[in-house]
Symmetry: C2
Subunit: 384 residues, 2 copies
Amino acid sequence: MKVENIQLYYLSMPEILDEADGSQDALVVKVEAGGYEGWGECEASPLTSISNFICPKSHSAANPIRSSIVGENINDLSDIKKIITRVKNRSLMIAQTPHTFSGIEVALLDLLSKKESCPIYSLLGMNKTIPKIAYASVLFGKTPQETYNIAKNLINKNFKAIKFGWENFGLNIKTDENHLVAARDAIKNEAELMIDVGAIWETNIDEAEKRKKILQDAKITWLEEPFYSDAFYEYSKLSEITKLPLAGGESCHSIESAKNMIRYGKVKFIQIDAGIAGGIIAGKEICDFAEKNNVQYVNHTFTSHLQLSSSLQPYVSSTKSKFAEFPQQLKSLAWDLTENHISMDEDGFINVPEDVGHGIKINQSALDQYIVDVEIFVNKKKIF
Amino acid sequence: MKVENIQLYYLSMPEILDEADGSQDALVVKVEAGGYEGWGECEASPLTSISNFICPKSHSAANPIRSSIVGENINDLSDIKKIITRVKNRSLMIAQTPHTFSGIEVALLDLLSKKESCPIYSLLGMNKTIPKIAYASVLFGKTPQETYNIAKNLINKNFKAIKFGWENFGLNIKTDENHLVAARDAIKNEAELMIDVGAIWETNIDEAEKRKKILQDAKITWLEEPFYSDAFYEYSKLSEITKLPLAGGESCHSIESAKNMIRYGKVKFIQIDAGIAGGIIAGKEICDFAEKNNVQYVNHTFTSHLQLSSSLQPYVSSTKSKFAEFPQQLKSLAWDLTENHISMDEDGFINVPEDVGHGIKINQSALDQYIVDVEIFVNKKKIF
């Protein structure tokens, strides 16, 4: 069979707030071939990726992604791998390409798995699923007291790991310390504590190093994204100076960039988003490389459970990589997008669905409810 | 004064051919502030970057680029640096951002230089301009004989360095050898010979290593882009195994990624496109870092002379970095875009214009002749 059609759905909350929450909009992909449907989600600026998908060609290494996929064979895994190489080489000079293609790759795998009546992970040669310790992924409170309350509430829900992230942290050491003390006070020794600072220190090693003691005192499991995602030198220096275990990788947009993060950035946890890194097959190769280098693979997910299942697929069989990001503050769009959801068991573990494909069913009415209407004309001709 | 307006012009040849030539379309930027105009060019898929410029916000790290610049102060260089940081942080999660912003940065510098009545390089603290050895940047011929003829013709035009690139090379060792022998036969010892393989070997070190002898025999000055741009490990291995001087960096989209190419990829020539890497200020920082590490900085340019002048600005004063890419097979669009051009002297050197700004004047009639009409509607509202 051949890929017959690819449809992109730009979904959005009615209002986009100026906060780090990535679940406020979505770019969902449907592919069709041989009577089957596959679904995936890109982690991307939707309009930018739509243009990347249908843009007029610039030259032989800057083609619209659509042109490399529609009409191609999709009978087995090797066909998908051919499409991956074809897209990479034909759109190499458009930086947005991995963001746009990743969701399509997931949809292609979902479709092929449906034809084969198996889960995606089986298609990739994995036979068992091992539950992961779910870490609640939440933003710091506006005040340390609020951070305390959030942590307490999550502990009461049986979480065995909590990650505070992004906002209200990194600009003032005293405030940072208060947040960390509040978080650790709330969770005591009942759970792991991770901290995500969202590249707040850019490339400034000193600013990061100043937090060495307060982060050590809080007994964090990892410090995530102290610097810009390609600041490998700074990552490795901070790791060397502080001995803090570092995590990063959500912006890795290729297998090579993730390997660089491991080889040169010296992270101990590599966090891969199936909607950015190139898809699930890319994730699997990164996971194998990571574990060979004594680095744990972790999903990166801050959107829907479609994306959550996709990002869990590459390491479902791993016994070495123990944690899974489990977003806890999704906007209604990201929740409503799917009919079923992944839930945490009473011991604080989550697992991928064992159904065919990624096992997540799209809620068609959410597509209607949140759809953003986009029309693009080039020289008066409608191309989207 | 404040940035009042930014206008993007998508230009294209009537027909885009399936060849590696990047001069077939263009994305040109005009900025306006305080009665001044500045011009720049992005090296980008035009429609993808237009969308990146005006897309609806996704979250606090995925904003449209326009929103970070229009209305901001532009009174001195520190204001431009503030804008650079603001754009980076507010659009960090849109991978296309550096492609789109780079041309805007050039336009902002051009504008500010016009206010100060000085060249851009002076604004950045450089006081003299040192001519560079122009290397003719051309594609391999379809046959070794054609490659010979192209080289001979360039030698007759006084070129002291010739780079063959991209097409018709890398897939068959015997053919590759014939091309290399033909090129060296034609130029004898009268000129340097560089080879650009456009990532043809992806991440396959063996395929590259097989060409060790034929490349050594051809006495090449550098081998460019043997692998994908982020395959630092493979670059460093090839350098170690073959001792061939490697070049790369045209896809570097940040200061950090260029430093990685130098630190970890072990290139001897770092090739930076002002229309991709973040602009001229980014180029200057990369150049300083490169030369401290005994690496030569080289412009990457395969489009107009607006882009050529922009990409030369970061290293005009350098005595260590000796070469400059001088594209020789531009499509009419890229030539017609500017009223004036940079020409090579009889000794084979080129230099930046010493006029204010980048010294290149836009040909308004080319904007009309090659313009592509783009309209984008989001929920029926025209946003471009």
